[in-house]
Symmetry: C2
């Protein structure tokens, strides 16, 4: 079986490791914007051969693991080009636009839209990990629009990879993922910005940073090449969620300025329930 990976970064590279492990007689072809990273993925043994445009027709599976703007640019051409039994799977963090784009395509059944809730703040093939997807949620959107035989193959591979499968409407996906992923990134970027602005006067400030700061600011290391296209495609949801977050911060500041510390205490006690919620999720996932 021939698998073509477009985008051999953190996600594409980790998918390559899984394909090598779980798909018999697999040949892995790689394509990448940065030729240096493509060479690195060959050197690391993640992919076996370069994937040229002319070879798209020979692929059985194509994995699209590139920023969401370029995924949108390339998907229709790729669908036009692939042979009649090939499957294209995308792994981007936004799902509404890409599902809409191919809704009426004659080969819609050969496309599967997914979003694995897995990643780190690092990019490139050297960031690929063997267990990145283990026990992680993999969201499938509009799975019923994918040809059943192709869908079954994909589901089987995902399960072997250790993913926990969920089905979801793409519009709903984009709305909800804003809260538990996109907002975290913005909060982290702006935290980094605020502290770096202060650091211009106080060069010793980072010396005082502990693990709490590192934890909240970790996502501020994430690449804008991946994230700005996500912000663009999910602009409406993000703008609304960001308003809610800013409102909550403003309310916190008002309570603080008005010395309403009992109200702050009560509010935080309620927020502390997130502990049970997060632990509950971990348990649920581990029981699958």
């Amino acid at each position: 079986m021939k698998i073509g990976i477009i985008g051999v970064g953190l996600i594409g590279g980790s998918l390559a490791i899984s394909a090598r492990q779980h798909i018999p007689d697999v040949e892995i072809y790689g394509n990448n914007r940065s030729q240096a990273n493509l060479q690195k993925s060959l050197d690391l043994g993640l992919v076996d051969f370069r994937l040229d445009e002319a070879m798209i027709k020979q692929m059985d599976i194509i994995l699209l693991a590139i920023p969401v703007d370029t995924a949108l640019e390339r998907l229709v051409d790729l669908l036009d080009e692939v042979n009649d039994n090939a499957l294209i799977i995308d792994f981007g963090s936004t799902k509404a636009a890409i599902c809409q784009q191919v809704a009426l395509h004659s080969k819609r059944g050969q496309f599967l839209a997914t979003h694995p809730i897995a990643g780190t703040e690092y990019s490139g093939p050297a960031a690929a990990l063997p267990n990145l997807f283990e026990e992680k949620i993999q969201i499938l959107c509009e799975a019923h629009k994918t040809r059943p035989d192709l869908l079954e193959w994909a589901q089987d591979w995902f399960k072997k990879t250790g993913m926990i499968l969920r089905e979801m409407d793409p519009v709903e996906h984009d709305q909800q993922i804003t809260y538990v992923s996109h907002l975290s990134h913005i909060s982290s970027y702006m935290l980094g910005k605020t502290v770096m602005e202060k650091e211009k006067d106080q060069s010793a400030i980072f010396d005082m940073a502990g693990s709490g700061f590192s934890s909240t600011v970790r996502l501020a290391k994430s690449s804008p090449f991946m994230w700005v296209p996500i912000f663009e495609q999910n602009k409406e949801n993000i703008s609304e969620t960001l308003s809610q977050y800013i409102n909550n911060l403003n309310q916190f500041k008002q309570l603080l300025d008005a010395n309403r510390f009992d109200d702050l205490h009560e509010q935080i006690l309620e927020i502390n329930n997130i502990r049970q919620i997060l632990e509950g999720i971990t348990n649920t996932k581990n029981n699958k």
Copy 2:
């Protein structure tokens, strides 16, 4: 040597472990608001005996590891009470108010104000860790006001515990720590609140949460008993820093709403430099 620990929680309990390891012939006495937690600290072998008020005079060292409001309430009485060769060390997250409170006390030389940049989101004696302070910054404020022989003893113990010592003005400490600790907690609390409000409609939302969300929201598990008094004592600095953070979020939202994605990209590229800064700090600390 008799050590009295007031507050046998995460910090007090971890200090007990270090005292047991590094101070010869130590007897550890514990005092705690929650009697259940005091019993637990006895059961865990963190402390040897209960510390009653009447026994304060017999202590050689008193460690104050309680919320910053109760530390402020108790410190003067404790200083009045201790024998003439005892040292009281506090470990709270704010330093200006406590240093000011005892500035004119006749036993000022028997007090040392510190802030170890170490902790987790958990509380209580069961959260105590043997290596909590290893390779962590320990800030000493107004060390020159502590009696040299007592200061030397404390510095020696802290070093044995693996702490990296720094001296700092208390007012400066409170201002700078706002950026790298207090703001992170507020950002995390409000992130938790925003998502929990949304969850009321969308109960599946946390199922989509990945490691990025867990990381940014981890501090939202922190206890208000510890944190609200910190917010109260450091109100002016926090209010100002919070305004800067909210301004940055508003500016981000304006760029997003105005489709100025190139500007967002440029801004994030600059924020990405936080990677080098944070890694640089880790290296510096490890070289000490």
